[in-house]
């Protein structure tokens, strides 16, 4: 906080020290404690997981494309949809958010590394080994877990699904759960303790806020899941009876425990991606983020409410108090709505340009809007009795958890690729990628709403030719093919950036946050110098420090006004005059290019 000792942030060290103790090659990667390398490890691993999850979804769509076909048998199909959900939720969506958090949080708050660098690497090992254990179920003679990603006992117990795959699923997710808890502690500590002088809470990028609150949700939700999984493992292997009705256990207890994790989980998966688009939209609108404090308060509201809505997954059990969970669930629409209007406000009156990151961010908005609206419909128990466990829910969850994550992930990749590699991804290929994905995604999932309304249940491996939703399933499968096609320009752009690099400077976008001040890729301990941090846009302020009324620099009125305004938001926004002055001397080298776009 503001009591952090003053550091010589304005002086360039005489010579950048060599990376200490970094082994070359694979050993170096697996023993590093550098948050950027660990971030890249998380990113590459989670994207590999996404690829595996995507291949599994292709099996599902192939199986369901036509009625009465058996491309895989029922048993395999059940394993495939279980592992598709498992891989996408536990091994891709959350870890990719941790990739972003690992790489960007220290850079964005002006820290040299994470608070606990070694613990950080331990988290990655746990994640990697847990993921491999889960996937190793496919090598077992009885196959992988086949009880769906929420593993309802008694079916997920010893009698329902006795295969070793289920145990591997539980043990693997215990490991990744522990990894998540450690990473959350690490990121939260970094944000609270290691912010640079001047980086008050209310000057942190919204992405950092979103990750901080995500970490608190992880700390609330993951231990509950981990405990429940231990109980289930004890049921399966050691004869415990937590969820075995004949032994006096209660299967519905699992549902309460699981969804007490499961609903915060939905926001654990969503908030970091909200943060990503909140960083991208203002940059390409040439505007500050609109309603910063409203966004933060909305995020806090979402995080709080998300722990009070779990039983809306259990409306059809007939064993929960419906009105309470109907009210809390519907309430979440309000802070989410605030976010929407703030995103639009950030574009309003700006000068919008549409390179691939911005395209994906706007694609995210529309995708998430659809998922949000069907979410309000599903929040009503009256309607959920009809819609629960149908393809309407499948469509809803793929809009909120699938589409938004995927669009935001690609937005993040296109946006921060130049920072991570020093190279640009081809923009023309990026546009092809975006439009193919928009068409493919909506072709796949829009019609699923209708399949659900017409009575198609989830998790069926087949349907009759006379079913009213046969045509919808064919359309869906064609859409899935288009999504696969959309990956060609993306992979092509990656290969091109590798073989024929398009090298760019430190800040090709004219972006706002601290990571763009340093080199691309950043040096070992991130910063050789740091500009003064007077707003949530230090890089922007520095670039336009000569422009009256634009950058927040200088003792002139705009800054004074801003400081008074900020001071009224203590303690979120505590600042101290000496900290404010600490960085005023600027970089001892040539100032950044001024020939970016106009203010």
């Amino acid at each position: 906080m503001t009591t952090a000792p003053e550091r010589p942030i304005a002086e360039l060290p005489p010579e950048r020290p060599e990376a200490r103790g970094t082994n070359p090659g694979i050993v170096g990667w697996l023993t590093t404690t550098d948050h950027k390398r660990i971030g890249i490890l998380y990113g590459v691993t989670s994207l590999t997981m996404a690829f595996i999850g995507f291949l599994l979804s292709m099996v599902i769509r192939a199986e369901l494309a036509r009625p009465d076909t058996q491309i895989v048998d029922y048993d395999t199909y059940n394993q495939v949809f279980t592992m598709h959900g498992t891989v996408m939720v536990y091994l891709f969506a959350v870890p990719f958010a941790f990739a972003v958090g690992n790489y960007l949080v220290p850079l964005m708050v002006g820290a040299p590394d994470m608070a606990f660098p070694r613990l950080n690497m331990v988290s990655y090992w746990l994640y990697l080994s847990g993921g491999l254990v889960v996937l190793s179920g496919f090598l077992a003679n009885t196959g992988a877990a086949d009880f769906g990603w929420f593993a309802y006992p008694p079916y997920a117990g010893q009698t329902g699904s006795p295969g070793i795959g289920g145990d591997l699923w539980l043990v693997g997710l215990l490991l990744t759960g522990a990894s998540g808890i450690l990473t959350a502690l690490n990121i939260a500590t970094t944000v609270v303790m290691l912010r640079a002088p001047g980086m008050t809470m209310f000057r942190m990028p919204i992405l950092v806020w979103d990750l901080l609150l995500t970490c608190f949700m992880v700390l609330i939700a993951f231990p509950v899941l981990t405990s429940a999984q231990l109980m289930l493992l004890a049921d399966r292997r050691f004869g415990a009876q937590f969820f075995v009705p004949s032994g006096g256990g209660l299967p519905i207890l699992w549902q309460h425990l699981f969804w007490f994790f499961g609903h915060p989980e939905v926001y654990i998966v969503a908030l970091p991606y909200f943060g990503i688009v909140t960083e991208i939209i203002p940059v390409f609108s040439r505007r500050p983020v609109f309603g910063y404090k409203g966004l933060v308060l909305a995020t806090i509201a979402i995080a709080g409410l998300s722990t009070a809505v779990w039983a809306h997954h259990m409306f059809v059990t007939g064993d929960v108090y419906l009105p309470y969970f109907a009210v809390t669930t519907a309430l979440i629409a309000v802070p989410t709505g605030i976010k929407f209007f703030d995103w639009i406000g950030s574009m309003w009156g700006g000068k919008l340009v549409f390179p691939p990151p911005m395209l994906f961010a706007v694609g995210f908005l529309v995708t998430f809007l659809l998922g949000g609206l069907t979410g309000v419909i599903l929040s009503s128990p009256t309607l959920d009795f009809s819609l629960s466990d149908t393809y309407f829910v499948v469509a809803h969850l793929h809009y909120v958890m699938g589409g938004t994550v995927v669009f935001a992930v690609f937005a993040a990749i296109y946006f921060w690729w130049p920072k991570v590699t020093g190279r640009m991804l081809d923009q023309r290929l990026g546009r092809w990628h975006f439009w193919l994905l928009v068409i493919g995604f909506n072709t796949t999932f829009l019609v699923m709403h209708r399949s659900g309304l017409e009575g198609m249940p989830r998790r069926v491996g087949d349907y009759q030719a006379s079913a009213p939703y046969a045509a919808e399933n064919l359309i869906s499968s064609i859409g899935a093919g288009l999504i696969a096609l959309s990956m060609i320009p993306f992979v092509w752009a990656l290969l091109r950036s590798w073989r024929r690099p398009d090298r760019v400077g430190d800040d090709p976008w004219g972006a706002y946050t601290l990571e763009w001040i340093t080199t691309s890729p950043p040096p070992e301990h991130n910063f050789d110098w740091m500009p003064p941090i007077r707003s949530e846009r230090p890089a922007f302020d520095w670039r336009y420090r000569e422009e009256e009324g634009v950058g927040a620099l200088g003792p002139e009125d705009p800054w004074r006004r801003r400081a008074r305004h900020d001071a009224s938001w203590r303690p979120f926004h505590a600042w101290v005059e000496s900290d404010e002055r600490a960085g005023d001397s600027g970089p001892p080298k040539a100032p950044p290019d001024e020939d970016g776009s106009d203010p």
Partner: protein, 246 residues
Amino acid sequence: MSWAVRRRAAFLVGSTALLALALGGCAEQLGLPDSPTEQGGTVGDVFDLYLVAAWVVGAIVVGLIALVVVRDRASRRRGPTSQRHHNTPLEIAYTLIPLLLVGALTVVTIVTIDRVASDEPDPDVVVDVEGYQWGWRFTYVDQGVVVDTHDTGDPELVLPAPARIRFDVHSDDVIHSFWVPAFRFKRDLIPGTPTSFTVDTNELGVFDGKCAEYCGLLHTQMTFTARTVSPGDFDAWAADQGSEGP
């Protein structure tokens, strides 16, 4: 306009049209299948209300996004960009208006919950529903009739209409879910947690029924047929079943 700008404009118009087409194509067919029950009718009314609200809100937000994306493109704007970063009255407005909207919708939901998920003490017919891997056993408590997947293959759930029917649902092995899509209602059968719900039938017809909660290998094939018949036909059917049954 330069070629690049025109191409971008074409992309934008094309994508918007495509989206409108996709949404529109859905709109005229969206809705639930016809329901032979009073509860189903209520669900349908609430669904229509929510759907209209969702369409209106969706149209406003998509409209705002489309407006700003088209109007505020860099190629169409000169001069400095507004750096305004908050507007407190506006922010309060877009907090309160959604709050009122979801508040109103939630009130509608809460007053209809009891109507669609009631548990009548005095129904005309009581059907005890047991799900098992992988089939159904329907026991007509007063008539002493049992219909079981083991005996008949795909079982037929015969119900009188109009009549008030209570379903007592339970399971002994794993979780299943009793679902007739046309009733617009489903209820999980959770071992250890038996529950009941009531349906008021008011139309004749034949309807698909299925298990909606994944329950293992043959979950997909755990289907049945629901048939509503006149009360007279129902009594005749029950007597017939009773005479040839076990």
